[in-house]
């Protein structure tokens, strides 16, 4: 079983001055899955993300990536291993052009990122690949716009293109459809489906409709601990989940399934 899992956590725990935000969490993410992490506000979903990418230090527990212990690594080193995260608020570089946003990610493998004496023209050969990536998320016509001018949904699409530039083995998406209108949600969901081929995705998502459509596996967190796990049918049928998490939304869940 173990070799099947791209990412595992063992008794992952994070306490903030007496408050346990993440409590003894054992996650097992299967390779190739879209795995959703859901739960009510304050359940610790984003904290788990921050622990997995080492933006926070776990109080105790272990994180294994491809069977290798990555718990002591720094955030940049985690990224270099092939785990790339997104953020709850759109993570773009607002005053760079759309093309430059993607190129920053492509540039990393070039090994010239400390070369302050060379012209940035040496990066121009990356433009074709950057345009290709932009095309895959439908942004090629915006390539030379300043990113800050893009509508919200497009910024999130750009974020995905930037993440894809690094060819991550594991993508962590923190609420990719948060704060979006209907059409944008559909567009992003479609995009996630598209990019999930050949890679694993772990996402925090509030929109249960999106979760029901995309997720192969769901973990429900409540007060920092795992409440239940399984596919959408299993999880949504669990009375504990209905009571603890969905509450009045229970009707909506049935519609979605």
């Amino acid at each position: 079983m173990t070799q099947d899992h791209i990412l595992e956590t063992r008794n992952l725990t994070k306490g903030f001055k007496g408050f346990i935000a993440v409590d003894d969490v054992n996650l097992n993410i299967r390779r190739g899955d879209i795995h959703a992490l859901i739960g009510p506000n304050g359940a610790g979903k984003t904290t788990v993300f921050n622990l997995l990418t080492k933006f926070l230090q776990p109080t105790s527990g272990q994180i294994l990536f491809n069977g290798q212990d990555i718990t002591p690594l720094k955030p940049a080193a985690i990224a270099n291993k092939g785990i790339i995260r997104s953020f709850q608020i759109s993570a773009v570089f607002p005053h760079l052009s759309v093309l430059e946003n993607v190129r920053i990610a492509l540039q990393r493998q070039e090994g010239n990122s400390f070369h302050f004496w060379r012209s940035d023209k040496v990066l121009e050969h990356l433009n074709d690949r950057a345009l290709e990536l932009l095309k895959s998320v439908g942004l090629e016509s915006f390539a030379h716009s300043v990113t800050v001018d893009l509508p919200y949904g497009r910024k999130r699409a750009l974020e995905i293109a930037t993440t894809l530039a690094l060819e991550p083995e594991l993508m962590l998406l923190d609420e990719p459809t948060q704060g979006m209108g209907h059409e944008d949600v559909g567009m992003i969901a479609e995009l996630i489906k598209q990019v999930s081929a050949n890679r694993t995705i772990l996402m925090v998502e509030h929109n249960l409709h999106v979760v029901s459509k995309l997720a192969d596996q769901i973990t429900v967190l409540q007060r920092g601990a795992i409440l239940t796990e399984g596919d959408y049918a299993t999880v949504s049928a669990d009375p504990q989940v209905r009571e603890a998490y969905m509450g009045s939304e229970a009707d909506a869940v049935e519609v979605a399934s």
């Binding site: 933006f55 940049a76 270099n80 953020f87 607002p94 190129r103 990122s113 060379r118 940035d120 930037t162």
Partner: protein, 307 residues
């Protein structure tokens, strides 16, 4: 990017200016412009505020000055040595400071600069309160006598152009691209796999080296290296120059330094001398309240909106 015509025009002004203006004043102006441009590399292009840049300006001045006084080195070697000393100090201070962010970064740099100030105050070789006086200029490469102020000015102009070129190149390099990404969204830059502390550190070292280059050059111009250059006032003044001129613009520090140095020179000699700091404070307040993008930033906006 850089407007070629503007650059040629400025260079022409730089070359012809000694015909109309006292060369030592011009040389002083360019030293401060280089200092401000070095500072702006950090604040404007990495988004980190150093409140201790005087330490590097002063170190450049003292090391260059000491070597001119006590060794047979030619001025260009003494300036290079001063620059390297600044880079080395920057490497150590930068290592400590980049671990912190925002206001804490500023406080760490201020504390380290104060430490430096008191060391220079006590150390016998700096001359303490009297400063290091009578620094000889001698001859560039052992060939070109620098005792003539106009000749000295052209050396300063050449050094300034080199520093300015290096900053421009750094900004428009693969490294500069990463710096801008860090300025724009640091957590995202980390999540893309950039170890941002290393990038900030290198930018800090380049900035410190260029500040020391300005300091070393200045000590030759005035034939003096004094505590004024290491005092925290100086760290504040460079912030003022950069903000008034336009932070994050290439020419802003030049404009800001020109304004501040000119004001200091003309006001301190006249009847308003006693009010100099009040007037500078007022300029700063007006700038921050009404045109936050500074002189050059405001001109760029005007140009974008009207042409």
């Amino acid at each position: 990017m850089i407007n070629r015509k503007l650059l040629i025009a400025l260079l022409a002004i730089g070359l012809l200016a000694p015909l109309a203006v006292y060369p030592v004043f011009l040389a002083k102006l360019l030293c401060f412009a280089l200092f401000a441009a070095a500072f702006n590399l950090l604040l404007g292009f990495v988004g980190i505020l150093s409140f201790g840049h005087a330490a590097f300006l002063g170190t450049g001045g003292y090391v260059t000055g000491w070597l001119m006084l006590n060794s047979g080195l030619t001025p260009e070697l003494a300036i290079i040595a001063g620059t390297l000393a600044g880079a080395l100090l920057g490497a150590v201070y930068g290592k400590l400071a980049v671990k912190r962010e925002g206001i804490y970064f500023a406080m760490v740099t201020l504390a380290l600069a104060q430490l430096t100030f008191f060391i220079y105050l006590q150390a016998p070789f700096t001359g303490g309160e009297d400063g290091m006086q009578g620094i000889p200029r001698r001859a560039l490469f052992g060939l070109i006598d620098l005792s003539n102020n106009t000749v000295m000015y052209y050396l300063v102009l050449a050094i300034f152009c080199f520093g300015f070129w290096l900053i421009n190149r750094t900004i428009h390099s693969p490294f500069g691209q990463v710096l801008k990404a860090i300025r724009e969204n640091e957590p995202r830059a980390i999540s893309l796999g950039y170890d941002v502390e290393k990038y900030k550190w290198l930018a800090f070292v380049i900035s410190a080296a260029l500040a020391a280059l300005a300091g070393g050059t200045k000590s030759l111009v005035f034939e003096l290296a004094s505590l004024t250059d290491v005092h925290w006032h100086m760290s504040g003044e460079v912030i003022l120059m950069t903000l008034v001129g336009g932070v994050g613009t290439l020419f802003g520090p030049l404009a800001g330094a020109a304004l501040v140095v000119t004001m200091q020179n003309y006001l301190s000699g006249g009847e308003l001398g006693n009010y100099l700091h009040i007037i500078m404070g007022a300029v700063f307040v007006i700038c921050v309240l009404s045109f936050r993008s500074g002189i050059v930033g405001q001109l760029q906006k005007f140009k974008r909106n009207n042409f």
